[in-house]
Subunit: 342 residues, 2 copies
């Protein structure tokens, strides 16, 4: 049995669900992988708790369910920032699951990840912020310190879009990537087709919890662009930045355009595309596109995302996920962790 | 630069194409992966050629294109069986790409693979025969000798159906697998829907080179069943054998059934299914099934295959491949090889 001690920063949607997955899977992980995963430090936006002997996962989940903070964890909880936890606690691995926060330069996630890598911890993160702002720096930092940096959950929820591209397409030249990596824009466009007004559609998405606090992040295509940038760096080995993406959001779309597409059996989705040029560079774009049913992403439902790789030697490979709740997105942290340790 | 010496048994459809891929990719493999892949022995059904300094790939491809045998390779070619090559030549890895040959107990592939593993070579094979007849034995033999046994090409052409299940679903409970792993049955059913007679449809498939010499292998569902058995062993860790699959081929299908499905917008495909029971075992079946367009495999074309994994924590993940020629199937050997060495 191998004990893996880990820190968890971020106990929102993904972090708390990940704790629940670990609780449910504890016996399976011990039996199948010989792994004893021990949470030795946790942080939310209001405080931290650390115990080298291990925190009680059920208690952490319970605190968060009650709307509480880990700062109130008995005896070892206190009011301090996440960065302090990562700088001081000893662990094998950091799980960084705090929100994107691009307008705050991806903090506190970015600092936590940098600190963990420098201290020799592996890092697993579904947080797009640090990966889109500092891909190359973090990649190099991990290599320099001989640790793993995994971020499969950054691109398309629970779909292993990155692993598919990085590992299963080895040796290929990737001619084109098309991805539908954002759920809420698909939902809104589907509602518009049904005759729901723009305001109602956005409000409905917000009520479902599908929309980020800053709606522009989704609606103006920033989220899809960030995911495309991470994919371009990780899979295409093309050093793209956010400003390299030609980005069109869904706000300008007219309902009549959407309905006329429907009449042609096409379904609009916010499509992220990377197209290889003759010089080996990629042209990156995000735009709402009507997709015909024959397109591998042409029948995606409201809880479905997908990616298509067009290659020279592996044909055209498409992968989609039906993700009715955020559990698969949280489970990517388990996928990444098991990829490191099994 | 790391030199990897390999033997290649089987220079038919897949083996010859693999050689061509290596010729085309040589510079890329050196630059990107630091690998110098050296063919030190080759075998076809009529002879062998071996040279520790490396055979000339272009010359091997040229011989096969001319309908020749490697036994006629200048100086080092001779009339001897593949098993002798594998037993005597020194190499890091065996690529076993001979035909399935289940009626000959998967020989000579099975003997070649056993010998290579015992001699400490890694083995990469897209040959279903040995894997379906001796999965557990070969798996154990590889573990015992500390070498890798990879067979990604056995299940669905160039689609990484096995890697997706084995690696990206780690930690999950797989509730159901559905796969369309056989191309020619889809082609024939599509032709029947169009009004082509059974005899003409089979003949047309044969002319395309899509049908095995023993047509029953495809038409009676043996091929799909073999692939399902390999997937069950490799991904589900369920020790299934060929006789455990409830198998219905496409020969009994009436054209009127197929057309009535079409009228309901459904498309028939030979579906291989593994369904988890409450006791943790899986029920395996192969049967022609009408798939609605909403099904992730419901719109597969004649050159397309796919797999769907229904899981507890990763949602439902589907992957499909469009494979207009056999190059992706041959390229799985490169995928496997790079997975071992990079």
């Amino acid at each position: 049995m191998k004990t893996v001690s880990f820190l968890l920063v971020g106990l929102g949607n993904l972090g708390s669900r990940f704790c629940q997955i670990l609780l449910d899977k504890d016996a399976h992980l011990r039996r199948r992988y010989g792994l004893d995963l021990r949470l030795v430090g946790a942080a939310d936006s209001r405080g931290i708790a650390a115990d080298p002997a291990g925190l009680d996962l059920a208690r952490v989940v319970g605190l968060k369910r009650a709307g509480e903070t880990v700062a109130h964890y008995p005896e070892v909880g206190r009011d301090a920032p996440a960065a302090e936890l990562v700088a001081s606690a000893d662990a094998d691995l950091l799980l960084e699951a705090s929100p994107v926060n691009l307008d705050q330069r991806a903090e506190p996630g970015l600092t936590c990840i940098r600190t963990a890598l420098r201290r020799g911890m592996h890092v697993v993160t579904p947080n797009k912020g640090p990966m889109v702002l500092a891909y190359q720096e973090l990649h190099d930092l991990a290599a320099e310190h001989g640790v793993e940096l995994r971020f499969d959950g950054t691109v398309a929820g629970g779909l292993p879009a990155l692993y598919l591209g990085q590992r299963d397409l080895r040796g290929a030249l990737i001619e084109r990537v098309e991805a539908v990596p954002n759920l809420v824009t698909g939902l809104i466009m589907d509602l518009l087709v049904e005759g729901v007004s723009w305001e109602e559609a956005v409000e409905s998405a917000r009520r479902e919890g599908a929309l980020e606090a800053d709606a522009s992040w989704d609606l103006d295509g920033w989220d899809a662009a960030a995911k495309l940038v991470i994919l371009a760096n990780a899979v295409l080995e093309f050093p793209a930045r956010l400003e390299d993406v030609a980005r069109t959001g869904i706000t300008g779309l007219s309902p009549s355009e959407l309905r006329s597409a429907r009449d042609r059996k096409a379904r609009y989705r916010l499509l992220a595309t990377a197209e290889r040029c003759s010089d080996g560079a990629y042209v990156l774009s995000v735009a709402p596109v009507p997709l015909l049913p024959e397109h591998p992403l042409g029948r995606l439902g409201r809880k479905q995302m997908g990616v298509v790789y067009t290659t020279d030697i592996y044909g055209t490979i498409a992968a989609t996920i039906d993700e009715p709740d955020p559990i698969p997105s949280a489970a990517t942290m388990l996928r990444d962790l098991l990829d490191i340790y099994s």
